[in-house]
């Protein structure tokens, strides 16, 4: 259970204000509602129903496939025990896929957070008129409006060796000759990550913008009174207040980015030389190219287990106020 978000020794006024705020005092005196109350189950019933019918059942089917062989595309499924899991875990391509996925999701999420926060703060500034901010808000949300197939296609077009990006970069002298962004094993993964960062940051920006609205201006004023400059206010007021939202979004983004399939498939297809092979493309190839649904299911279950571990730690650190 963390103490006041604002360091009392450095910014006594601000910390005092925060301590007075109802949010803090509620934390001190927890009042759990009656446990025997059935009300929460009622509120949560539609969610449970939907998720159970439409998620748990298919997932159970996938898990069952992973223990069989000859599923879906062949007519006689047989029980195969852990054979599929062994096959997947000893496949060097699977291990490469895990490595690439980890790099991909970590870089993407960090960049999303940083960019999203930076843009949100710039869009939240009091220095500019509402109209200016509105215009920029529209521009910044543009990447989000397009379906991923179009994002893949347009970036492929722009990153073509003779495409516009290379043209501009060579014209202004940053590059000597055209770079094969997506076809060269050394740059493909970074180019792909860049595209993913571009297409995904608006989500963070919007959520953080909403979160920034919720930080009371008084906290900033009190910190200013304590002599905090802009940077100190940022690290001691903004970040702590946004922490729950930041953590939630980071976890979610890690999970979602690991599911990204269409972007990778339509730009590099997992190549060249498997440098952009991710868990999603690996699973797809197993399922719809090798027609090994059992193996694909095993890979899916492995991913699910890894994520459940992460989800468990995430939920554990969620504190109610």
């Amino acid at each position: 259970m963390e103490p006041a978000n604002i360091d009392r020794t450095v910014f006594p006024e601000a910390a005092a204000l925060e301590a007075e705020s109802p949010t803090f005092s509620a934390r001190g005196r927890r009042r759990p509602f009656a446990v025997r109350n059935l009300a929460p189950y009622g509120y949560i019933s539609p969610t449970l129903l939907l998720i159970f019918v439409l998620m748990v059942i298919p997932i159970a089917m996938v898990v069952s496939y992973s223990f069989q062989d000859n599923v879906i595309v062949q007519k006689n499924p047989v029980f195969a025990g852990l054979a599929n899991y062994t096959k997947v875990l000893t496949d060097p391509v699977f291990l490469t896929a895990i490595k690439n996925t980890l790099i991909f999701i970590t870089l993407s999420t960090i960049a999303h957070l940083v960019l999203g926060l930076a843009f949100a703060m710039m869009l939240n500034t009091g220095l500019l008129s509402g109209l200016t901010k509105a215009v920029f808000r529209i521009i910044y949300i543009l990447p989000w409006l397009f379906t991923i197939a179009v994002v893949a296609v347009i970036w492929r077009l722009m990153l073509d060796p003779y495409g516009v990006i290379n043209y501009i970069l060579t014209s202004i002298g940053v590059l000597q000759s055209e770079v094969n962004w997506l076809a060269s094993p050394s740059t493909a993964l970074w180019a792909l990550t860049f595209i993913n960062i571009w297409s995904g940051y608006p989500f963070f920006m919007i959520s953080l913008l909403a979160g920034l609205q919720g930080i009371s201006a008084d906290l900033y004023e009190a910190a200013a009174v304590d002599g905090a400059n802009g940077i100190q206010r940022f690290f001691n007021v903004t970040i702590p207040q946004l922490k729950p939202v930041l953590i939630s979004m980071a976890v979610l983004d890690l999970i979602w980015t690991s599911q990204q399939f269409a972007l990778i498939w339509m730009t590099t297809g997992g190549g060249p030389l498997n440098v952009t092979e991710m868990l999603s493309t690996y699973t797809y190839k197993q399922a719809f190219s090798s027609y090994e649904f059992a193996t694909a299911s095993a890979a899916a279950v492995i991913v699910l287990l890894l994520t459940m571990i992460m989800a468990f730690f995430y939920v554990r650190q969620l504190r109610e106020r």
Binding site: N37, V62, A149, L157, G214, L252, S258, Q259, M308, R321
Partner: protein, 282 residues
């Protein structure tokens, strides 16, 4: 003296922010500008070297082709209907669930939380076939309903998590003030919590709408006829076996994004202005 220095400081900050915003705008907007540019070219000019923003054959051909095809218009309509329903129903369900998570302690709470977060982790590709079978069994194949509940399943986890987070920032005293007046939890939820959380709910709503609008894999799998299909499928239909209709693809994406942009414009004003700051203080 002090005032001038401060004023100059402010001016410096302002220029800095505007510069930062402009650089960011180029980053965010250039590909979209290129999309627009491509939509006005002929297919032969798309790969021209050196690349040009505006070419000699500037034409609205691609747009006419898209708009004059009734199938495309139907795609737009379908996307809207599905996305709006998904947003409304997801918000509703998420608000209810978030209230339970935020305000109550109950057994299985942590377990359900973990479950909700983890179900998103299963690669959708592997879920396609079981899901397909399930939807057919429910009789929802090739209907709006099938798509709506499918999209809800994908958007609910995030919606619940974020709404719970927003509710968690609101003190219990607010609920109690209603209870003191003799109201129940239900009243507290709808008369107090929800109105205050509107900016957060709008963010969640916008996100849900976007996800549903841009979803391709399940929309393709769970629909069969053109009268049920959505915009992402319409765009992919332009990627033929032999060639892509580049200009039409870009035109359709641009056309598809305009109404979404308008929706965003309408609701984005709710982001601004600290509606919440007043509530928290008192």
């Amino acid at each position: 003296m002090m005032a001038t220095r401060q004023a100059r400081h402010r001016l410096g900050m302002k220029i800095g922010v505007i510069a930062g915003l402009c650089i960011g705008a180029v980053f965010a907007g250039f590909p979209v500008v290129w999309m627009l540019s491509t939509s006005f070219k002929t297919n032969g000019e798309v790969f021209q070297v050196p690349p040009r923003l505006i070419t000699a054959n500037l034409s609205f051909d691609a747009y006419w082709k898209i708009l004059s095809n009734p199938a495309n218009l139907r795609f737009f309509l379908n996307s809207y209907i599905v996305a709006l329903w998904v947003t409304a129903l997801t918000l509703l369900t998420a608000i209810l669930a978030a209230y339970a998570f935020s305000r109550y302690e109950f057994r299985l709470k942590r377990f359900i939380n973990v479950a909700i977060v983890s179900v998103q982790a299963v690669p959708p590709i592997t879920l396609v076939i079981p899901f397909f079978g399930l939807v057919v069994a429910l009789g929802l194949y090739n209907t709006y309903g099938g798509l709506i509940i499918t999209h809800m399943v994908f958007t609910l986890p995030y919606a619940i998590i974020m709404t719970t987070a927003y509710f968690n920032t609101l003190p219990r005293e607010l609920d109690e003030s209603v209870k003191v007046d003799g109201g129940r939890g239900w009243t507290a939820l709808w008369r107090i919590l929800v109105p205050i959380s509107v900016p957060g709910l709008i963010a969640v709503g916008i996100y849900t709408f976007m996800i549903s609008w841009n979803e391709y894999l399940f929309a393709l799998t769970l629909t069969r006829t053109d009268d049920m299909r959505t915009v992402p499928i319409g765009i992919q239909l332009l990627m033929g076996q032999h060639s892509y209709e580049w200009n039409q693809m870009m035109a359709m994406s641009i056309l598809g994004s305009i109404p979404v942009l308008i929706l965003f414009l309408i609701f984005q004003r709710r982001f601004i202005g600290g509606l919440t700051s007043g509530a928290v203080k008192s």
